[in-house]
Symmetry: C2
Subunit: 475 residues, 2 copies
């Protein structure tokens, strides 16, 4: 039986101004996790959230993760619970209350820490969409239910961290520790920390690529040399490195390392059908990259390349001359950096082995007297869920109810490592349910959240909790 | 008739302490041309030299070259003349009185601007060997002749500049202007601003390689992109650039650009014979590069590669990720930097055309939708003189007289652009007559000049003037 949501929606609409005011207060706290000098503001933001939640009757516990480095405490993780009814489902939501750095001088049109609502109802401010708006969406949903006297449909468990923009230090361990403690009754997980594929159509996200990052180092001379004196007489590390780097990928995006594609899951007819109706145009891509230098000229190939095929990018060279101008140096030690975006069913360990074998083989072919070293720098695994899971079905119904349209089922090319951690540690389905759109400029200047996305998004999050409370179990 | 030099040599020996004291005073003036804040010290060094010269009876004129940039005057060039006898030959000597930067914190064992003479009679201090020692060598020679009452054998013209370590700004024009004015009677030119090939045996240098420096730029996206979002969907400029860069040279030092070697002068039997007796061992090379990663394992191939064959070095990439760590960026615009060391009979304009044709062809083969630009950044021509010229014969006799050994006839892999300018503008033979040795660490920390090289070098410069005064004209 479909839940009756009209009273909740009406309540949200009536409280829109106070919800915007809540966002204004949150944006005003410059909780920049990357900057040690702003650490007190990050903690102040935790205090603000804790106060909002406890005022509404939620139970909040702070978890301390130790020091980031001597003398600098990591900000607390807030673990919250609203409702404790064993007859209801328990839904765990995750968000983060820290933000990217922002300075007016970077090019912001308005002060980044003063919420500015323009004539198009765009709400500009650092953290508006990433991720304070979505976090407050959950709190708004609680408050609207309370004010309207509507029974809250689930037990809501919350995990809000303050270090997401700086590597989520310590979070994985905490999730592991709490998996069978604070999170033990969790039935499903929902993360609202990504964006619609475009500007108009909502989506649910069921997959993320992983990333395996590598450095390859070539060294020879004891120090940098002058090319006038030594050019032609010494085996130059850059020559070897550029040769090896040129064997990794071609400019059509094809990875040239043997065996990589053997691990890529074939496209099923079921998956293939998903691409047809995705609201995405080549112009969306051109707008994103600022040019028309795309590899493919159709959206299906482009989306498959972004979501479900591996890619390899050459990022740069450490140790070589990288400034403007002309310096006649023979660099003594150079490290080429590249990474592979990984997809199902690639195994990061196997990827690492294939890469190592390939680069060592290519270097061996050069018959060089330089020294070669392979550095696997980090690896995060891909994540993919089933868009047919009841957690997704519930979210799709909520989207349709609020936005009047079935959401696109999307994947993303980048990674959100905590997604996989929640899935692995709780053993439950994880859903990515974005509130903002692709135009929100998260991490950029003039970050914004449309008022529509915030208010309708608050309705959507609440509606999701109603649908997920009663969705029949599938898969 | 060989000149009688014993009285001069005795006089130099007797004045050794005062010559070292002169060097001590010169080293104490931190005439760093690269640093605007040190510009007054550069001018102070010019004052010092002018005073030393006029005290000895030389005529000195200051030439002003204008402003380096608004508010910062270039240091003066000192044009000196000692002797004005039309019956004598006029010899022009060049040197520079500015120095490389130096800070104790860079790793100097002693204060770089306080001359420190150690137990092995090594005289440490910035500028000791590059180029204050040699410049003072000429002044010492004048003084010793004067004190001993020996007639000075030539009219000595001097050109001492204060911007050599910073590109000799304005000097080429001045030499051109003065070629038929201050320098109009010049019979030969001598430059003492380079080093012996090794630590023990003197040399005369008759050739320098040129250098042609290039940038190749590949651009596509409007701004740097995130490899998670766009990897696999956009034609990455780095992939194109690395591919083109990999076609330029192999790690055995072979340039892969068609046509380059067609321009290289063949080795004559006469030239070939010069390599046999050069005092140079593979260990000298290994000491220089700090490793054994040489291309050749014999000295003849190594010297030919350094002196008379072209080489190509890949210097680095501008615009890509070059720091430590792991950044998942797709750089939007990257510029690969490389240079070719050029040799007789390579024509810089033809080299530029061959390089441009090659890189544009290699880029075209990639069938990329990125944009390619070729940037010739600068070109300086090679210089080669005949070691049989009477200017060299005279210098060889001076070396043998002072050091008891015939000098090696050497070339250098790097460039000293002023050499070619003097040759072209005066139309006279130019000789490079080094005072210091390869172990002097010019441009490095703990720069030094051995007392032996300074005092015997002063003898050698004076002896050279005697021999060159009466050497029969050949070539």
């Amino acid at each position: 039986m479909a839940p009756v949501l009209e009273p909740y929606f009406k309540q949200v609409d009536s409280m829109a101004d106070s919800f915007i005011d809540r966002l204004r207060k949150a944006v005003a706290i410059p909780s920049i996790s990357a900057d040690a000098a702003h650490r007190p503001a990050v903690v102040k933001m935790a205090d603000f959230l804790e106060n909002e939640l406890t005022t509404l009757g939620a139970h909040v516990e702070r978890r301390y993760l130790g020091e980031q480095h001597p003398g600098l405490d990591l900000p607390p993780v807030l673990l919250g619970r609203y409702g404790d009814d064993p007859k209801k489902r328990s839904i765990l939501v995750y968000g983060h209350y820290d933000v990217q750095p922002a300075l007016k001088e970077d090019g912001w049109a308005t002060d980044p820490f003063t919420l500015h609502v323009d004539e198009k109802d765009r709400m500009f401010g650092r953290g508006s969409t990433d991720d304070k708006g979505p976090v407050l969406g959950w709190i708004n949903a609680i408050e609207a239910h309370k004010k309207a006297g509507i029974e809250f449909p689930v037990n809501l468990l919350m995990c809000f961290e303050g270090m997401e923009e700086s590597g989520s230090e310590g979070l994985d361990n905490l999730i592991k520790q709490e998996a069978q403690v604070f999170f033990k009754d969790v039935d499903a997980v929902c993360i609202s920390d990504n964006y619609w594929l475009g500007a108009e159509k909502p989506c649910l996200t069921y997959g993320l690529r992983g990333v395996s990052y590598f450095g390859i180092e070539v060294s020879g001379p004891g120090q940098d040399l002058h090319s006038g004196v030594y050019g032609g007489t010494v085996t130059e590390p850059m020559t070897d490195l550029i040769n090896v780097m040129s064997t990794l990928v071609n400019n059509k995006g094809r990875i040239l390392i043997p065996g990589i594609y053997d691990q890529v899951a074939p496209v099923t007819p079921e998956e293939e059908a998903l691409y047809a109706d995705i609201a995405f145009t080549m112009q969306d891509l051109y707008d994103g990259i600022g040019s028309k230098t795309a590899i493919f000229d159709d959206t299906k190939s482009t989306l498959m390349a972004r979501w479900r095929n591996p890619s390899l990018s050459l990022h740069g060279v450490e140790g070589a001359f990288s400034a403007e101008g002309a310096k006649t140096v023979i660099p003594a030690k150079v490290i080429g950096k590249f990474s592979i975006r990984t997809v199902p069913d690639m195994d990061p360990e196997k990827v690492e082995k294939l890469v190592q074998q390939h680069v060592e083989w290519e270097f061996a072919k050069l018959n060089s007297n330089n020294t070669f070293k392979f550095h696997p720098l980090h690896a995060g695994k891909w994540w993919v869920s089933s868009p047919k899971h009841w957690n997704f079905t519930a979210a799709a119904k909520a989207v349709e109810q609020v936005w009047g349209v079935k959401p696109d089922m999307t994947r993303e090319g980048g990674s959100i490592p905590v997604t996989l951690t929640f899935e692995q540690q709780t053993g439950k389905n994880v859903l990515l349910l974005p509130m903002g759109s692709s135009t929100d400029a998260a991490h950029s200047i003039n970050e914004k959240l449309d008022k529509k996305n915030y208010i309708q998004g608050t309705k959507m999050l609440g509606a999701y909790l109603h649908f997920v409370a009663e969705e029949p179990i599938t898969e």
